[in-house]
Amino acid sequence: MKILGIDDTFAVNELLDTVLNGSGHDFMYVNNGKDGLLLIETKKFDLVLLDLAMPEFTGLDVIKSLENKGLLEKQKIILFTASALSDNKLNEILNKGIHSYIRKPIDIDVLLQKIDELENH
């Protein structure tokens, strides 16, 4: 799968790079929402791993921008959320059409499992 990671934490990106490229996926990452949005618009990705909590342009801003441009429906997204995010707020976001989410800290096994599910869907 062609996967884009949008996360401001380099250590996470580095890990995902190793894990996903090592698992046979085509993974690239950016460290901010704006670059991520630009990439989604210009290149086609099978899956976007989106961190919700980023400085300035947040994951939610990315989702809203995609929604406004009508790109959200077509785009598969797995959201990384903070553990403290309430269910209500999460549901609000998921209702926009997000496929899946993982609470931080990210469990790699769970992530791989979710990616597998989406790939085989």
């Binding site: 934490t9 250590a11 996470v12 580095e14 890990l15 995902l16 190793t18 894990v19 090592g22 698992s23 553990s83 403290a84 309430s86 269910d87 209500n88 931080k104 800290p105 990210i106 469990d107 790699i108 096994d109 791989l112």
Partner: protein
């Protein structure tokens, strides 16, 4: 003591002191003026009595001068028989010649009639040799030995002869040889018509009680003091019926009371010596203490006599009948009470003005929520404003510190959490043979250990964050209706894996179709925590029983184990922060000591109750209730 009570007591004391002082001064001023006028009255009485004595004296003087001018005296003294001296018989009786006898008889007749006009004990005429020549009732001459050792006949006669015709001399009192009464005598020289020689003097005696009649007094004590210190007259003393026992020689102290009978104090002695140094006719007044009372005395030196007339009145008698003064006293008491009452009202108003802002301040402080201190809205024009400002400044600083603490802990926990994802992620990745290839057993063990500790760190950070939130009352609950029965089944299944290592028998006893509106995640957190604790404390092949029951208004949850139990004295601290029953045991579980405190905080947030029942070596049961309307309570709170 409250401030207003303090103020009231202080001001009342001042008010009473001030009004009492003013009242006292006013009363004293008025009393002084009353006493002044009373003293004036006393002095007037003294003047009046002195005038009466003077009148008596001048009458007697005029009479004696008039009597002495009778030409028959000249005739008598012109007789050659008289000039040649008296002739006495063997018995010491004067032998008169026929011519002498005739003139003497005429004089005696005249004197007899003259005397009837006045209050006179005895009259006589005395020649230059000191012999009495014309006494009517004189029985015998007065020998010198009958006089006192200090008073000789010359003492009486010489001053009498020294007087000019028309003047009179008053003798010192003595016991009259004729009447045996205490008398004083008036004398005036008799001048013979031919050569202007003083050939004798005329003499008559007045009884001393005449003065007694004059100085009678209803109020106080009136007295006459002679220069020797005797009371010649005293309104408190009865002289008249006490005849003298001898002739002129009787000592005065046997008849006249001493001045000491008025007062033997030094003060009074001083006054008496002051009296004696007065000029004749001069008057004064003084005060002295006697028997614990103040006495006023007005006194005057008689114009003619060398005597002092005094009038003594005690203060109580002086002021008796002064109704105005009594009324003034009542008025002053009334005024003092009124002023005190008025002052009290004023003080209560003033003090309430002072204490009211303090009360507002105290109430505002009491109402403060320690997690969200609000600045106190109070503006006054006094020192309270400074206190308010200082408090508000403090509140601002505390809030700032609170916020800094919050920001700091949130920053720290976030920064601590961030590296956890890669740490745990790399551990998982390392264990993934597809990515990293097969690991040796040793390598796998090492990674497991890293993972275990990283998870423990994750748990620790989570607990601290939760405790912080509960502490700041910032934990937000996400209420939704859940099927408790389904939830407990899920939880039972989800935690089953924890029981395997110890082969624990793990049972769920939850009623069917039990529903509750609550925060599912937080409820799971509480139950998981309790189950994890139970797992730690039950023995191998032990028993853990979870469950939930409908209790009407609430749902009761429990987690029961047959573990070691908890000592009674440790139960009260069980839900405190950082409290661990047995450190060694909880270490294995990796608890932070915050677990039960967080459980209690969450259940408190649900408005429920959490408690434990435990028997040592038999096991513990943790219970908690969640009211069915906890969401309503929370909404109301927010």
């Amino acid at each position: 003591m409250k401030i207003n009570v303090k103020l009231i007591v202080l001001f009342s004391a001042i008010m009473v002191a001030v009004t009492a002082t003013l009242g006292f001064l006013a009363f004293n001023t008025v009393e002084a003026s009353v006493i002044d006028s009373e003293l004036l009255d006393m002095q007037n009485i003294v003047h009046d009595k002195s005038n009466q004595i003077e009148t008596l004296h001048s009458r007697a003087s005029e009479d004696i001068v008039f009597a002495a001018q009778n030409p028959k005296f000249s005739d008598y003294f012109d007789l050659s028989d008289t000039k040649s001296g008296n002739i006495y018989n063997d018995d010491g009786v004067i032998q008169f010649t026929s011519e002498q006898r005739k003139l003497k008889s005429d004089l005696e007749d005249w004197i007899y009639h003259f005397q009837n006009k006045f209050t006179v004990d005895e009259t006589c005429y005395i020649d230059r040799t000191g012999q009495q020549q014309g006494a009517l009732i004189l029985k015998a001459p007065v020998p010198d030995e009958h006089l006192s050792s200090t008073k000789k006949s010359e003492d009486y006669f010489e001053p009498s002869f020294e007087k000019d015709p028309g003047e009179s001399y008053v003798q010192y009192p003595y016991v009259s040889p004729a009447t045996k009464r205490w008398v004083f005598a008036y004398t005036t020289p008799i001048v013979t018509s031919s050569d202007g020689q003083k050939s004798g003097f005329y003499h008559f005696e007045m009884p001393i009680y005449v003065f007694q009649d004059v100085i009678k007094s209803d109020v106080g004590r009136m007295f006459v003091i002679d220069p020797e210190g005797f009371l010649i007259a005293d309104s408190n003393y009865n002289y008249s019926n006490k005849p003298g026992s001898g002739y002129m020689g009787q000592p005065h102290e046997e008849y006249f009371p001493s001045i000491d009978s008025i007062s033997d104090s030094e003060d009074f002695a001083g006054i008496v010596s002051g009296m004696n140094s007065l000029e004749k006719g001069q008057s004064k007044w003084a005060t002295y203490d006697k028997n614990g009372e103040k006495y006023f005395v007005a006194y005057k030196k008689l114009p003619t006599f060398n005597w002092i007339i005094g009038y003594e009145v005690p203060r109580s008698q002086l002021l008796a009948g002064e109704n105005d003064l009594f009324a003034l006293q009542i008025n002053l008491i009334l005024l003092t009470s009124l002023m005190s009452a008025g002052g009290l009202v004023a003080i209560i108003m003033v003090s309430s003005r002072i204490t009211h802002p303090i009360k507002i301040l105290a109430d505002s402080c009491k109402k403060q929520d320690v997690h969200n201190l609000k600045e106190i809205d109070l503006v006054t024009d006094d020192e309270i404003n400074d206190v308010t400002k200082a408090l508000n400044n403090m509140i601002k600083q505390v809030n700032e510190i609170g916020q800094m603490k919050e920001e700091f802990s949130s920053m720290v926990t976030h920064e601590l959490k961030t590296p956890l994802t890669p740490i745990l992620g790399w551990c998982q990745t390392l264990k993934n043979p597809k990515i990293m290839g097969e690991l040796s057993e040793k390598q796998r063990n090492a990674i497991e250990k890293i993972q275990t500790n990283a998870k423990r760190l994750q748990q620790l950070i989570g607990d601290i964050l939760d405790a912080e939130k509960l502490d700041m009352q910032k934990m937000k609950f996400d209420f939704q209706e859940i099927n408790v029965t389904d939830f407990m089944n899920y939880l039972h299944k989800n935690l089953q894996r924890l029981m395997d290592a110890k082969e624990i028998k793990y049972i769920n006893d939850t009623e069917p179709n039990l529903k509750l509106i609550t925060d599912k995640n937080r409820l799971e957190q509480v139950l998981t925590n309790l189950v994890l604790n139970a797992v730690d404390f039950v023995p191998n092949k032990g028993l853990i029983n979870i469950g939930a029951q409908d209790k009407g208004d609430s749902v009761l949850f429990f987690v029961k184990d047959n573990g070691v139990g908890i000592d009674k004295d440790k139960i009260s601290n069980l839900f405190s922060k950082f409290y661990q029953v047995e450190t060694s045991m909880t270490r294995s579980h990796g608890g932070t000591g915050l677990g039960l405190a967080i459980c209690k905080g969450i259940i408190d947030g649900f408005h429920g109750k959490i408690w434990v029942e435990s028997i040592v070596n038999k096991g513990s049961t943790f219970y908690f209730t969640i009211p069915k309307d906890s969401i309503r309570n929370n909404t109301e709170k927010n």
